[in-house]
Symmetry: C2
Subunit: 333 residues, 2 copies
């Protein structure tokens, strides 16, 4: 295992200290238990957004804390859900009296621990709603998950619901919008290589030198099939097919196309993927009106990518375009 780390058991703590050192203008970091809070939180009268989950998917979620997006992020150990305690602490820290929305990726541990945290916060008179993200069309009922997994679409939910909260929409509206983004988003990924969880020290799965995994999860969970390496265009077609059929997307739709790197894939390859995905959408009469390309929901150093398509309407487009100021996503203001 070759990593720029010190002791594997300090990885999350030390990274949080790095986030604090680098982005002290945007966030405050609390330790023991660790959670990351938007500078100046709570914002009185604003619905607060809290997300979290296992670490190793950076910049998700800590990189998305700030104006126009999350109010708090709760990083668990690498690929392991945070316990209810830091989720409750984060929820209390950001509640500005207008309620809190939990954005939860659909993994059994995350769902359970966020549910417990919501109950505990409610007992303290904080109104909590939850939206479960399950945008991955690859498989149902995988390792870690009952139902579909939550993957890269989470970023789109956090951005768009964050903009809704920032303009002081009420809890019901912010929740409705988060749910709508999830309902209109579909994703699927591919792995070329596995990744190594620091405290494990070994790859969580293996792939032969000429093998790739279609439909991989963000923790290296099994996907739909293992196949021989193919040209990028053929791989894109394999990912995009199930995505487009599932909603289904139709000619005339306007979409946000998001090509996400799994952490170890060069950006030049992500653009090759984007090119083909945009080409296929164009052939089908689907118009790409917004785009996002880069490493946003990663699996440590895994090589691979995922494609996410969000069906847009005027409401979602306006919220996507609204200013955001976080470590990993920022524009406007």
């Amino acid at each position: 295992m070759k990593k720029l780390i010190n002791d594997p058991k300090n990885v999350v703590d030390e990274a949080a200290r790095g986030i604090e050192a680098a982005h002290g203008d945007l966030v405050d970091v609390f330790y023991d238990p660790i959670y990351i809070v938007r500078k100046g939180a709570p914002v009185q009268g604003k619905v607060a957004l809290v997300s979290g989950g296992g670490s190793g998917h950076e910049p998700l979620h800590g990189g998305f804390v700030g104006f126009g997006m999350l109010d708090a992020a709760v990083p668990g150990p690498v690929f392991t859900s945070p316990t209810p305690d830091p989720i409750v602490a984060a929820t209390k820290a950001v509640d500005g009296g207008a309620g809190v929305l939990h954005i939860v990726k659909n993994y059994t541990g995350d769902v359970l621990n966020f549910e417990t945290a919501a109950d505990l916060a409610s007992a303290d008179d904080i109104e909590v709603r939850s939206v479960i993200i399950n945008d991955d069309v690859a498989v149902k009922d995988s390792l870690y998950t009952a139902g579909r997994r939550g993957v890269a679409g989470t970023v789109l939910v956090e951005k768009i619901a964050g903009a809704s909260a920032e303009r002081l929409d009420d809890l019901e509206t912010v929740t409705r919008i988060a749910q709508k983004v999830n309902d209109q988003t579909r994703s699927m990924g591919v792995a070329l290589t596995p990744c190594v969880v620091p405290h494990a020290g070994e790859p969580s799965f293996t792939l032969a030198d000429d093998e790739i995994e279609i439909g991989i999860g963000i923790h290296g969970e099994p996907g739909r099939e293992r196949i021989k390496l193919e040209p990028a265009d053929a791989i894109v077609d394999r990912l995009l097919g199930p995505i487009l059929e599932d909603l289904p997307f139709a000619s005339g739709d306007k979409v946000l196309l998001f090509v996400n790197g799994m952490g170890g894939t060069p950006q030049i390859e992500l653009y090759i993927v984007f090119r083909r995905a945009a080409e296929v959408l164009k052939e089908k009469g689907v118009e790409v009106t917004r785009s996002l390309v880069g490493n946003f929901v990663t699996s440590l150093e895994m090589q691979g990518a995922s494609i996410t398509v969000l069906k847009l309407d005027d409401e979602l487009t306006e919220l996507w375009d609204a200013p955001v100021q976080t470590a990993a996503l920022r524009w406007g203001r």
Copy 2:
């Protein structure tokens, strides 16, 4: 070789088409030869900034074309300088009558081809100045280079000189500021793994399972020494020592600290590196007032990182903070 590509010889062309598809609101892409131009260029009366070099370092340079940064980027083949032709074409395309500044990383091929291009453009009555970037303190006279190499500091020059041009400073001022940023910037990197150039198909160098290379260049050129893998903090100290001695940086200095990923390193590790670098600077009385963390000047899928420190003053800080709107760096507006 496992890559999300089609034919290795089409990598740069297809990636450029991806950039066009994803960022058509920010840039126009020209083909045969390939260069990327800011939407709406030329901007009359504004000094234009042109940079370029071998591909494989994305988002450098194409990801930095837009408001407040570059007017054009010229990507050569992977790890190979662009020829003078596209540099001339890009220079002419963006000249708004106030002159053009070439920002050139110090590699023999880049320097030569930009020089030839500048001569050709001058023959067409375009006033061209050049600044050579050579921020890497690791080695002198390496493979590809006479003198010091230009590495991650290039981003800082492009951002800050770009802001100077955007506020309509004249060519002499923009050139002075670019030169000043280069003169006050020092960098050094480490590689944990090599990378594979697509048309080569094999790693350009090898490292044993427990070996790392201190002072690596962005094309995998040899650095200062190969050592056994160490804890991140020890590696950071090895990189930061020569950086701080070289300018030298002194107690009371304010700096921008930039931790750059080489492409294949998880962001969680970059923050661990940032944490230690910030700690060391604090011990020395050097104050980190601005920061940047992420994959900005990469070497394909190489695992590793570089540390860059820029000594700031009020002029540079104001220009760093100015709005920028590019694919890879954006804030404000």
